[in-house]
């Protein structure tokens, strides 16, 4: 979810030239919050925040009524409540969200097989091949919106454009519950007045470097000589920005996204300084990462540790293994070694573990494997969990006792960037 509250909304009402705009970007409106409203119709029209009232939970989603007060994603709930004191805080129910996510993705895949799922609640569709069957891209966009609302009760916003990044920006502009077609020849007219920050891939750091050059809109980027951009954002970044600002984005809709890393992280209720507690937390996270690696038939060669101190300073450390693995025990050992190297510890707010340099586990078998026994054990655990549920079996140190995690661990299927 973005920070935008629907102000500056731009939608296509009548006919628009959609003859050269086969790319759709579909984004669910305030997805988690909207799913909660299905269960609690009494909350409709009220400011609702998804998160935990206690501890230091962050806002995972909010209704547009709450966003009007400045509430945004990743903002601490306590701050959101200061901005919007009468907001209703609802704890997240991830099982329901993934159920509805599957439902909407199913609808998309019935429209076209060319679906690229970007996250739990957004996707790109390439409808070039569906025109004959279903009509023009704008017609298909209306059809998608209609089907999603009748079959799930949820609303979404759709951007229709000639390329992925323009479609994504168009859906953002049309939120909530809207549709915006950007005809191909009007791409630059649409892009150039927009502020730099709305450009997909431009974060606060890049924005700041560009602002120092006196650049404010996407049009400014298109006009500035590439040499000046290079000095601000590097050669590769300059090339990419300059292409995007001119409306060029050759990336096709890719149906199978290659994940470059797998990670899990957790933010604590209260800062933790006890290294034992952190080690146990790393065991839980390593176990989760390893399960995901094995589910996908992958192994990892590099283990990364992410640590955020209480003052929000964030550190990343990584270590490359002699041989690739998908054994949780091994990931844990490596992560603990990385953690030990950071001692003495300051109070820790967030800890995470990431598996990088992924490869298929079929590649390159070893003659002997120091982790063989653990691998066998963990494979057996996978089998038991598959049959009796995830909580059926866990390492002893993760059983019982107060759980250190708050707000749930955030699963991060990192993308290529």
């Amino acid at each position: 979810m973005g920070r935008d509250d629907g102000a500056g909304r731009q939608v296509t009402v009548g006919a628009a030239d959609d003859s050269a705009t086969p790319i759709l970007h579909i984004d669910m409106d305030a997805f988690f919050a909207s799913v909660e409203l299905l269960e609690r119709p009494d909350l409709r029209g009220k400011p609702v925040i998804i998160g935990h009232r206690d501890g230091r939970s962050v806002v995972t989603s909010a209704t547009y009524e709450a966003r009007k007060f400045g509430v945004g994603a990743a903002m601490p709930v306590s701050k959101a409540l200061r901005l919007c004191p009468h907001a209703i805080v609802v704890p997240p129910n991830y099982a329901a969200y993934s159920h509805f996510s599957r439902e909407v993705m199913r609808i998309f895949s019935e429209i076209t097989p060319l679906v690229e799922q970007l996250s739990i609640d957004e996707a790109f569709l390439d409808v070039s091949g569906a025109r004959r069957l279903l009509g023009s891209p704008a017609t298909i966009a209306r059809l998608v919106r209609e089907r999603v609302v009748t079959e799930t009760g949820l609303t979404c916003s759709v951007g229709v454009a000639a390329s992925k990044f323009v479609a994504k920006m168009a859906s953002t502009r049309s939120k909530p519950d809207g549709m915006l077609v950007v005809p191909k020849e009007q791409t630059l007219a649409f892009l150039h007045p927009l502020p730099i920050r709305t450009l997909w891939g431009v974060g606060p750091a890049t924005e700041e470097s560009l602002r120092r050059l006196g650049l404010a809109t996407i049009g400014d980027i298109a006009e500035v000589p590439i040499g000046a951009l290079r000095s601000a954002v590097g050669v590769a970044g300059a090339e990419k920005l300059s292409q995007l600002a001119r409306g060029h984005d050759p990336r096709p809709v890719e149906t199978s996204r290659v994940e470059k890393s797998v990670g899990h992280e957790v933010t604590f209720h209260a800062d933790i300084t006890d290294i034992e507690q952190l080690r146990v937390e790393l065991l839980r996270l390593s176990d989760k990462v390893a399960v995901r690696l094995r589910e996908r038939g992958w192994v990892t060669r590099t283990v990364g540790l992410k640590l955020r101190w209480s003052d929000f300073t964030t550190l990343s450390r990584s270590h490359t293994l002699p041989e690739p693995t998908s054994v949780g025990r091994r990931l844990h050992e490596e992560a603990v070694a990385l953690l030990d190297a950071l001692r003495p510890l300051r109070p820790v707010r967030l800890i995470g573990i990431r598996a990088e340099q992924l490869a298929s586990s079929g590649d390159g078998a070893l003659l002997w494997d120091p982790d063989e026994d653990w691998r066998e054990a963990e494979n057996s655990v996978d089998a038991v969990r598959k049959r009796f549920g995830t909580s059926a079996l866990a390492p002893a140190s993760l059983l019982g006792g107060p759980r250190g995690s708050a707000g749930g661990t955030r699963t991060q299927p990192f993308s290529e960037d």
Binding site: T320, P322, E323, S361, G362, D363, A365, L366, L367, W368
Partner: protein, 380 residues
Amino acid sequence: MRFSVNRDVFSEAVSFAVKLLPQRTTLPILSGVLIESTPAGLTLSSFDYEVSAQTTIAADISEEGSILVSGRLLADIASRLPNAPVEFSTDDNRISVTCGSAHFTLLSMPVEEYPTIPQVSGEQGLVPAEEFATAIAQVAVAASRDDVTPVITGVQLEVTGTKISLVATDRYRVAVREIEWDGGADAPSLTALVPARTLQEVGKTFGHSGTITVSFTSKDDREIIAFSADDKTVTSLLIKGSFPPVRRLFPEQVDNYAVINTGELIESVRRVSLVLEREAALRFSFSIDGLTMEAIGSEHAQASESIDALLTGEDIVLSLKPSFLIDGLNAVRSEFVRFSFTKSENTNKPGPMLITSQSSKDQPGADSFKYLLQPNLLLR
């Protein structure tokens, strides 16, 4: 210092001395070659605290002394000198080199700061040079190039009685070869883990030297090995740590095996692999009809080829990485090759495959070379 030396002899000595110098070094002084003129002749040395090379050549010495010059520069100059005696003389730290009508002036680095070249004087024995060089070439390919695990970037030398064996592994394969060792009466058992890159240079340098003397020294917690022949000596620090116990991976006896023409197999593997993506494996099916290789590349290309193979025992299908297989086939050095298929107790992991030499279709080779390779999981 002043001396005169034969151009070819000098050039060869310089190229030997610089061969093991690191490409980059943090200490400029270590990129130098130390030249000492003594009544015994002219000694050239290089040393980077891990590896040293030292050689003594005949020269006409008119004044004793030592100089330290950039190794790469000296090697470039020496290899391009005209065919005439080479004259060296010094004036303070300026070195003058004259050869025919060519003249160079070089600057000497401070000799007194150069480290002392290690002298090795412990247990020693002799190996036949040519066989030793062959064994190194056969085994060192299997050593790991990944510095993440230093112990397997070396070749393990193991002396027992009248044999010395060389062992190397990168966990995907193991190569072993045994040759004669003359350590005199009551020769003790010894082991030494030598960096593979250094040992490969030793093989190339001493391959035609007749007999190589190998010595071991342990001093001040530094274990050093030395190889000498023909007035040349190479020393190397040993790698610390224990080499994995890989010999237990080799099967005692195998009833299921195939014999194939080595050259034919190498050709076919190279051909069929062309469509494979990097790191991908080839599928090998052995049956009474011979061997069929199949490469399932990307969606764009596939390839297959069948060649003769004499199979004993059951039909078998394996998935092998072509580069690992080719390394083994190049190392086996016989007209035919035997693949022995071991059984595995683990259903999730195929048993390793043993490659050995075969002098004819039915006659196993006389050498002791063994190359054990772990097949990949069959994905379908």
